[in-house]
């Protein structure tokens, strides 16, 4: 793979969760930090502790605005970290949180963020067991940044990985797509729509436990991803690439709320490219599909879960059968998602 040229700089798109983010990881970080756990490029890394397996993850949160419809940066930090562990099949053991605060940031806002973070941790049944605070001079950060890390225990028999999809598997999403990305985008620009669009940010460890409880063999869940930046498109392309399989998605079966669909039409956005913070993608063995789907639908965070596609033999790529019956590729977005101007 091509190295970066001298004089290249970080562009905002390198943080957009699309093709450029992926290139940065593969060209700059992976070769320097080379190890098998990282190279799996799953949502959390797996390390051994005697006979047990632990999942480790870390995430930085710089969302602007820090308070958005449906959530805030505190809830996002806990849910994002817990969901990365859950995507590895892990039960969260403990979290750490670090704040980077800009001089002058209102203490009342910090208290609000911390209350929300604590409430989300209670909801997930996990504690924040360590933390750190740094303050930088005014202008050197945008109000509040949060960095979180988490450790979880992976029960025996669970081994979901992006490389685990096999031809014949079914793809399930736990609910309607695009809500978080759209809520933050609309909040950032103060765009109002009839019918408020709220972020779906939520911890999903209980939902994942419910899915496992429905599987006679925990190995039947072959892959999980929480489709954050880059949306379903990025999550499925990662799985297809890591597994060496094709994935075929049925657009008509893919859940998107009428509000999100309408806003996406107006803004010229694709809901399959928008971030989610309270949804999980499952790739499961065909014979386990009905049981997992029923278990998800019985859980409050998965009522609108749906089977949206299947894994097939063939070159690693993701295709979509449109509602008109035509077929097209589902690509990874390059950088940030932008509203249309025509």
């Amino acid at each position: 793979m091509k190295a970066f040229a001298d004089g290249d700089r970080i562009l905002l798109s390198h943080g957009g969760g699309g093709l450029l983010s992926r290139e940065l990881v593969e060209r700059l970080f992976l070769p320097r930090l080379a190890n098998p756990a990282l190279a799996a490029l799953d949502d959390a890394g797996v390390v051994a502790l005697g006979e047990q397996r632990l999942a480790l993850t870390t995430d930085a949160f710089v969302v602007a605005p820090p308070f958005f419809p449906g959530g805030d940066i505190g809830r996002l930090a806990v849910a994002g970290t817990v969901n990365d562990l859950a995507a590895q099949g892990a039960r969260p053991l403990g979290l750490t949180v670090a704040f980077i605060l800009e001089e002058g940031y209102p203490l009342a806002d910090l208290a609000r963020v911390t209350d929300s973070l604590a409430a989300c941790a209670r909801e997930a049944g996990v504690s924040v067991v360590a933390g750190d605070t740094k303050v930088v001079p005014r202008g050197q950060a945008d109000g509040i940044f949060v960095s979180a890390a988490g450790v979880g225990l992976i029960p025996a028999g669970r081994c979901p990985t992006g490389a685990g999809a096999r031809p014949g598997d079914r793809v399930i999403v736990s609910g309607p797509l695009g809500e978080h990305g759209l809520a933050v985008m609309l909040g950032r620009q103060g765009i109002a729509f009839a019918g408020e669009i709220r972020s779906d940010v939520a911890p999903l460890n209980a939902l994942v436990e419910a899915a496992y409880a429905a599987c006679a063999d925990p190995g039947a869940i072959h892959a999980m991803r929480d489709p954050t930046r880059g949306g379903l498109a990025a999550a499925l392309n990662e799985i297809a690439a890591a597994s060496g399989c094709a994935i075929a998605v049925d657009e008509a079966a893919t859940p998107v709320s009428p509000e999100v669909r309408a806003a996406c039409d107006v803004l010229g956005l694709d809901p399959l490219h928008l971030a989610n913070e309270g949804k999980m993608v499952f790739v499961v063995a065909a014979e386990t599909t009905d049981a997992v789907l029923a278990a998800l639908r019985a859980h409050e965070r998965g009522r609108l879960a749906a089977v949206i596609g299947r894994v097939t033999d063939g070159a690693p790529r993701v295709t979509v059968r449109t509602e008109l019956g035509t077929e097209r590729l589902l690509d990874v977005p390059v950088g940030e998602q932008l509203p249309r101007i025509c």
Binding site: S13, L19, Q189, G190, I191, T319, T322, L338, R340, I341
Partner: protein, 361 residues
């Protein structure tokens, strides 16, 4: 299925070519794979409907030169503008990483708000777009004037659609049998400004919405006109568009802007196709002329104002070639490293074609 969709899907007459001139149509047609549904005899091409794409290379160069010369300037614009390469392959995104104050906004309102927040800096809005976005710029200029936001600036690269269609049809070799007229633009202008199509050129147009059934219905309506030999301007998108359009927005446009000649990528200079702020708004208007001169001086003469090497965006915007006919398409020019604006903007014909390319590719 309505009878027009049936007409579209079952057409087996001689080859016809219809052009859409709206980035959102470009995206919708590609995203829903509508070309694959239509009979081979119906050819759909994209025209100059992507605001970012039709911005002239010389104007991009001038904006880059303007930032070079004014480090104190804050430039705001729509996100897609940031990745359009100038003649020297530099982009606003790259200038921003190098330290220039370039910010993405989703609307001119946000740019005006930023000007209020930073009264000690000049905040310029690089305004692109057609009759859809221009009324917003007009409203912002009116508000800046009435509330004395003296540090607000507008670089108007706004363009008008009807003169471009006239230019296309007077270009030798043009072969267009009908237009899918832009639904969002016509929501403002109404359908009347397009009546010259049948009157002067004997070509029909149908104002289309953006759902797959809207687009297929509009194509069926164009085919019905074509069969009957009765070109006309019709509105399929009746739930939004009327013949007269949004008269308040038209009045705001007329009050703030005067039509002026404007250079389009691929089409050259077109009389009365741009919008220049009227004299009472002159203090807010940035004239790119001087910056353009500086850009010309700096650039190698052969490159200045030209499309990057081998890029055929101009031909794509005229509908003269399909994106995949360009030798750079999908090889050296991809959304990851675009050579021309049609691959940069998600509304560009090349980007839409690439992003939603058929499974056969």
């Amino acid at each position: 299925m309505n009878r027009y969709i049936e007409t579209a899907l079952s057409y087996d007459g001689p080859q016809v070519t219809f052009m859409e001139v709206c980035g959102t149509h470009t995206m919708a047609i590609a995203r829903h794979g509508i070309r694959n549904l239509l009979p081979r005899a119906v050819r759909l091409i994209s025209g100059p409907g992507c605001p970012v794409c039709v911005t002239a290379a010389a104007d991009i160069d001038a904006v880059l030169a303007l930032l070079d010369a004014n480090p104190g300037l804050t430039l705001t614009t729509f996100g897609d503008m940031l990745r359009v390469p100038g003649s020297d392959r530099r982009t606003l995104e790259r200038l921003r990483a190098d330290g220039a104050d370039v910010r993405v906004v989703y609307s001119v309102t946000a740019a005006l708000a930023l000007a209020r927040e930073m009264p000690d800096r000049e905040v310029a809005f690089l305004a692109v777009g057609f009759e859809t976005t221009a009324p917003g710029t007009a409203a912002a200029l009116t508000e800046a004037l009435s509330t004395n936001v003296d540090n607000f600036r507008v670089i108007s690269l706004h363009k008008l659609v009807p003169p471009a269609l006239r230019q296309l049809l007077t270009t030798p070799g043009a072969r267009i049998d009908g237009f899918l007229l832009p639904g969002h633009v016509c929501a403002v202008t109404g359908s009347r400004p397009f009546e010259f199509l049948p009157a002067d050129f004997g070509i029909g147009g149908v104002v289309a919405g953006f759902e797959p059934t809207d687009i297929l219905t509009a194509i069926g309506m164009l085919l019905a006109q074509w069969r009957a030999g009765a070109p006309a301007v019709e509105i399929q998108y009746r739930r939004i568009v009327s013949p007269d359009g949004n008269t308040a927005a038209q009045a705001a446009l007329a009050e703030v802007f005067a039509p002026v000649a404007s250079t389009w990528r691929g089409l050259g200079q077109i009389p009365a196709s741009g919008l220049l702020p009227r004299p009472q708004f002159a203090r807010y208007a940035v004239d790119l002329g001087e910056a353009a001169g500086a850009a010309l001086e700096k650039a190698a003469p052969a490159l200045a104002g030209a499309d990057a090497g081998g890029c055929r965006c101009g031909d794509v915007l005229r509908g003269a070639i399909a994106p995949s006919d360009c030798p750079l398409y999908g090889r050296v020019c991809t959304p990851r490293s675009p050579v021309g604006p049609c691959m940069v903007s998600s509304e560009g014909a090349c980007a839409a074609s690439y992003r939603y390319r058929g499974v056969a590719v």
